[in-house]
């Protein structure tokens, strides 16, 4: 069970997307876990063959628990034939001192090499209730991993098997739990991070003009929204302000490897996630727009990937049309900066001694004083302004 953020302690497997025997490639999504932040897709890190699915469905598992066993290239097969269920049994690690009885308790909690529930005589340990439910569901006990004493299959090991499916993923987060997570992270930010705040009003006249022209030749689905321009401007400005992009950990700043912008998405029903859009500085405006659409949609319906949950090096919140004029962001630890955009609204704007009405946006920066100063922050906001005033360069 990978950690999907510093606040995560556990999660539940809600769906396997592979089965034993499947070949997987690095980056493939193999399992969906449900965290306080919703259902997250987990990618595999290596090219391998799935040997056994270890984690039971719908059981709270601590970070670090074994989810599945993979055989990477070069590793010898643990079984003669991958076809029979018996052969998919876990490699029985260094002959565990396993006696059929009495149940010496304390055995198999998803440890590597934990003994299966099968005793020497081939009898699969299972509680009577689990045995009955397995029979009702048409499951073969021998194919199941038991978390009980002596590897016994318990009801909990069957939860979610044989029947429950994708249905759970819809709205699959616990609003109260998410609120606690947000509270914990924000309290830590306020406690530990010496924030400084800067704000600036920027005319969006040039940017919106350019956007109008750019959209003339685009299909409805491909149309650009102001958010894409804002995101692109932030990404490019960050290349000149690396001390706003990264993490403050263990008393030192570590620059981010790449500019991965966490984009704050308000969830219907309350709550908030900020999945990362990777390499924002390297994506052109159209790629960025489609990445934005994709990540927002998946954040709302559940289906974010592990990397999206953990990779953000900086966060942007854009309040959108119905938002307030300005926002004073709270940095998401261990990041060191957050950029906020208010709504775009028409305001009197002085141009060459004349007052005009122009669309204006308020941009704000909250940054970590342990890493940067207001001087750099000001330069960063000025760079965003320069870029938005020269939209063709975006």
């Amino acid at each position: 069970m990978p950690s999907l953020g510093p606040d995560m302690e556990s999660a539940r497997v809600v769906e396997w997307l592979v089965k034993p025997g499947d070949a997987v490639r690095r980056g493939d999504v193999i399992v969906v876990v449900e965290t306080d932040k919703g259902a997250i897709e987990i990618e595999v890190f290596e090219d391998a063959v799935v040997e056994a699915l270890v984690a039971p469905l719908d059981t709270e598992l601590a970070v670090g628990a074994v989810l599945a066993r993979l055989r990477t290239k070069g590793e010898s097969e643990h079984q003669a034939s991958p076809d029979t269920p018996k052969a998919q049994a876990l490699p029985v690690a260094p002959a565990p001192a396993f006696r059929p009885e009495p149940p010496s308790v304390s055995t198999a909690r998803l440890d590597a090499g934990a003994p299966r529930g099968a005793t020497d005589s081939g009898h699969q340990r299972a509680s009577p209730a689990a045995r009955k439910r397995a029979a009702d569901l048409g499951l073969d006990l021998a194919t199941l991993h038991g978390s009980g004493p002596g590897g016994a299959v318990l009801l909990a090991d069957l939860a979610g098997l044989g029947g429950v499916s994708r249905g759970r993923r819809a709205g699959g987060f616990d609003a109260a739990a998410m609120r606690r997570v947000i509270g914990t992270a924000m309290a830590r930010a306020k406690r530990e991070i010496p924030h400084y705040y800067l704000g600036q009003q920027i005319s969006m006249a040039a940017a919106l003009d350019w956007l109008g022209r750019a959209n003339e030749n685009r299909s409805v689905e491909a149309r650009l929204l102001p958010a894409a321009l804002l995101l692109r401007a932030v990404g490019l400005a960050l290349t000149k302000a690396p001390s706003l992009n990264g993490y403050y950990e263990d008393g030192a700043f570590r620059a981010g490897e790449g500019i991965h912008v966490g984009w704050a998405v308000a969830l219907r029903g309350g709550g908030l996630v900020a999945p990362a859009i990777h390499d924002v500085d390297k994506l052109n405006i159209d790629a960025l727009m489609s990445a934005l659409r994709d990540v927002v949609a998946r954040a709302r319906r559940g289906g974010l990937r592990r990397s999206e949950m953990v990779d953000a090096t900086v966060t942007v919140t854009s309040l959108g049309e119905r938002g307030a004029d300005t926002v004073q962001p709270i940095i998401h630890p261990p990041q060191v900066a957050m950029i906020g955009f208010g709504r775009i609204v028409e305001r009197p704007w002085a141009v060459a001694g004349q007052v005009q009405v122009q669309p204006v946006i308020g941009v704000s920066l909250a940054a970590d004083h342990r890493v940067s100063d207001g001087h750099l922050g000001s330069q960063f906001l000025s760079e965003i302004e320069r870029l938005l005033n020269a939209p063709e360069s975006l």
Binding site: V105, S106, S127, P128, A129, A130, R131, K132, G148, P149, L154, L155, A156
Partner: protein, 326 residues
Amino acid sequence: MTTMTYREACKQAIRAALQADPRVFMMGEDIAAYGGCYAVSKGLCAEFGAERIRDTPLSESAFVGAGIGAAMAGMRPIVEIMTVNFSLLALDQIMNNAATIPHMSGGQFAVPLVIRMATGAGRQLAAQHSHSLEGWYAHIPGLRILAPATVEDARHMLAPALADPNPVLLFEHVMLYNVEGDVDEHLEGVDITHARIRRPGNDVTVITYGGSLPRALAAAETLASDGISAEVIDLRVLRPLDMGTVAASVARTHRCVIVDEGWKSGSLAAEVCARLVESVFYELDAPIARVCAAEVPMPYAAHLEQAALPNAERIVAAVRQVVRPA
């Protein structure tokens, strides 16, 4: 609602019975002049007279036998035995006469007798005054065995017990006498056939009765803070057992811990356990656990006595082991 002690509830139950029916009288050792060894009958002799609150010689066999005779002859006797340990002197009367006469007479004789006695440990009364032998009596067909665990049951179980045409034994745990609780004075009585869920829960069923109920409830409270939701069932009636309530609960929670102050071997807990295995085996997700008294004559020394008894800590440990086997 009136708040009173369990002791006061027992007394008020007896008073109400004496007032309601002239056939009711009570007899036992030191219950009249002295007011009872646990002071349950204090003041009743002055109120109702020595005819109806009768001191007896120190012979359990004699006065229980007299009670059986009085019941057969149409009276509604309440017999108090100081403690369950002493009741063994009357076991012949209870088992060979009270429990059998209605059966052996083909129903011609009813024995509407109520025997009250104190049971249980915790007051440093040592090995001849402290045992919980109600499980033995629950073995005997023909008897109804009640174990009021709450002040309300102490107040209201006596009336239906007296109304029962067959002998009823009431076991009052000595550690409950000082417990306070609310009683509805106007309640017409409670049923003496069913167990009750005293605290609902989902993860495990804790089955107990009498003096162990407060311990089980305390354990459930501790477990709740640990995220374990324990359902606590008060058996109330030890014979005939209300297995319907118990089995339905275990079928829901799939796990069970039985708490019984008797010795584990051949205990009431053993009986409940066996019946659950017979009836809901396929619902069990963990072995049934029992928390019982240590298998020793009850020690006198306070720390040894406490070490021998079920307590909330041991119940919590047993539940944890059942719910989250380490």
